[in-house]
């Protein structure tokens, strides 16, 4: 009887030790994860979105693509693939143009900047650009906007 009791106690200690070890490893892993990339766990606004074919995951914040600054929209992945190899996404984001205007820029890049033919992707890329980066009517002189008021010393 005493042998059995001893065995139970040894087993209990063994199980407890295993549990402590597992917990330590788990906590350690979480700690290391948080240390190297603390953001993903705590960023509330970030939403993971799976694009089209389901194989690539892109991160957006308030519908803005984190890595490039582009507005989330249909065919964005084609814009990233075909446009940001040569120049910054910032160059696109600061421009505004109609469908014809964006097509003109693509033609100019093909004629002078070694951009290859985009094939059936061209219409999709132009559709994205003309939808999300369309001209705004601003008249001959816009009012001053986004003034950051400060007390002049």
């Amino acid at each position: 009887m005493e042998d059995r009791k001893l065995l139970q106690i040894v087993q209990a200690i063994f199980h407890f030790t295993i549990l402590v070890l597992v917990l330590t490893v788990l906590l350690g892993a979480v700690g290391i994860y948080l240390h190297y990339s603390p953001k993903p766990l705590f960023t509330q606004k970030t939403k993971s979105t799976t694009i089209e074919d389901g194989s690539i995951t892109e991160i957006f914040t308030d519908s803005i693509h984190n890595a490039t600054g582009f507005i989330q929209g249909e065919h964005l992945e084609l814009v990233i693939e075909n446009c940001t190899g040569c120049h910054s996404s910032k160059l696109i984001i600061q421009n505004r143009a109609s469908k014809e205007g964006w097509m003109g820029m693509i033609k100019w890049m093909q004629e002078t900047q070694n951009l290859p033919d985009l094939g059936e992707n061209e219409a999709k890329i132009v559709s994205y650009l003309a939808t999300y980066y369309a001209p705004e009517e601003q008249g001959r002189r816009k009012p001053l906007t986004e003034i950051q008021w400060y007390e002049l010393e």
Binding site: T84, S88, A97, G101, Q113, N114, L144, Y150, L152
Partner: protein, 406 residues
């Protein structure tokens, strides 16, 4: 902790695609050592030691402008000077082995000089020279013009030291049929194609032979900063800054109007004014030469809130391409009335001029202070956006700042 940038630099281009979550087209063309911009996003530490308030429009290639209040210095320091690059900054820049070749149809004989030769054989000159991007102010055109959306800060006036281009051209010997000079630099094309020129512009021979047209090796008393053309830069003040080529290793004296990259398809405006949005054939586009009269209010910074009893000091700079500025005026009533500012003469030809005034506001309220310069031929800055042109050049409309009197 892993150094993210070094980690990325050491990894293969294939892993860029993994991080981007999409294939990177032309990845094989990305120059070695070039960090693709999307990986550099959360590292906004001032590139090239530029002031932290400078606006970065593009990091591939680099395009950075100042804000109006950053241009308050009489001589623009490197930290507040705009950067307009068209290609990738060359990596191999060695002043001790740098060579400059002068060639072209209109030289008597091709000649190559080392940078040391240029510095020792020819007399040095120092001038304050205004360089303004041809597209400064592009953001206001409507319909919008494509390209970098410069606002007001793509202008500078630094002190450049170098040799006169005319001295070296005299040493080489040019023929009577010389029409234009064209520069070539060592920057490389964004597509990675080593055979593709990035930008090769120039100026008519008359501008090339002006006293102030320099081959510069110093800016503000130091070596020209890398992003501004180290070790040798052509400086043609008062013209679109693209005429002032960087990293120059070859100059051609041409018997035709230079036909290099961005001479033909850039920096041109309609020869005759057109309605906004008009399509224009190439034959009706003319090369921009002297920049138009313009001014900027550098103090105070826009958005100042002041007490009703205060007399407000304002100041700024004015410039007029090849010409002098004759007068500067300011208005606090949207142009209904104008008052004259105190204007200093230019330090030398093609340098900007300091202007200042003080204002007593009649009552509390929201005001805009507008500045307007007049050149030595009587031309003034317009208050509205000037003639539309497809590429959005030459917007010299009056600058204005917002003031609240409380």
């Amino acid at each position: 902790m892993i150094d993210r940038r070094n980690f990325i630099k050491k990894s293969t281009l294939a892993s860029f695609s993994t991080l981007l979550g999409a294939p990177l087209v032309f990845a094989e063309n990305i120059p070695a050592g070039y960090l693709p911009l999307f990986l550099d996003q959360d590292d906004p530490a001032s590139p090239f030691g530029k002031h932290k308030d400078m606006t970065v429009f593009n990091d591939r290639p680099w395009n950075i402008e100042a804000k109006a209040h950053l241009l308050d210095d009489a001589i623009t320091p490197a930290s507040k000077m705009f950067v307009r690059n068209n290609g990738v900054i060359p990596t191999a820049l060695n002043a001790s082995t740098w060579m400059l070749t002068i060639d072209g149809e209109s030289v008597k004989k091709h000649k190559t000089y080392s940078l040391q030769d240029l510095k020792s054989k020819f007399k040095h000159y120092t001038y304050q020279l205004t360089l303004e991007c041809g597209g400064n102010g592009r953001n206001e055109f409507n319909p919008p013009a494509k390209g970098i959306q410069w606002t007001i800060g793509a202008v500078s006036c630094a002190e450049w030291t170098g040799i006169r281009l005319k001295d070296i051209l005299t040493d080489v010997g040019i023929t009577e049929d010389a029409v234009y000079i064209g520069y070539y630099g060592t920057d490389t094309h964004l597509s990675g194609d080593p055979t593709k020129p990035v930008i090769s512009r120039g100026v008519p021979i008359s501008k090339a032979l002006q006293n102030e047209t320099l081959l510069a090796f110093k800016m503000n008393g130091e070596d020209v900063p890398i992003e501004h053309g180290f070790p040798l830069r052509l400086i043609a003040g008062g013209w679109p800054a693209s005429a002032s080529g960087k990293w120059i290793n070859r100059l051609s004296v041409r018997n035709i109007v230079h036909d290099g990259a961005k001479m033909v398809d850039g920096y041109r405006v309609p020869c005759r004014l057109v309605a906004p949005g008009t399509e224009i054939v190439h034959e009706d586009m003319c090369i921009i030469e002297s920049m138009p009269v313009k001014s900027v209010i550098t103090f105070p910074k826009t958005g100042a809130v002041i007490n009703e009893s205060r007399v407000l000091d304002i100041r700024g700079h004015a410039w007029a391409g090849e010409l002098n500025v004759k007068e500067v005026h300011y208005s606090i009533d949207y142009g209904a009335t104008w008052k004259q500012c105190k204007l200093q003469p230019a330090k030398n030809r093609l340098a900007w001029q300091r202007w200042e005034a003080n204002i007593k506001f009649p009552q509390k309220g929201y005001y805009e202070v507008w500045a307007k310069a007049t050149d030595s031929e009587g031309k003034q800055q317009p208050m509205v956006i000037p003639g539309w042109n497809p590429q959005g050049y030459l917007n010299n409309a009056c600058h204005r700042i917002a003031i609240k009197v409380v």
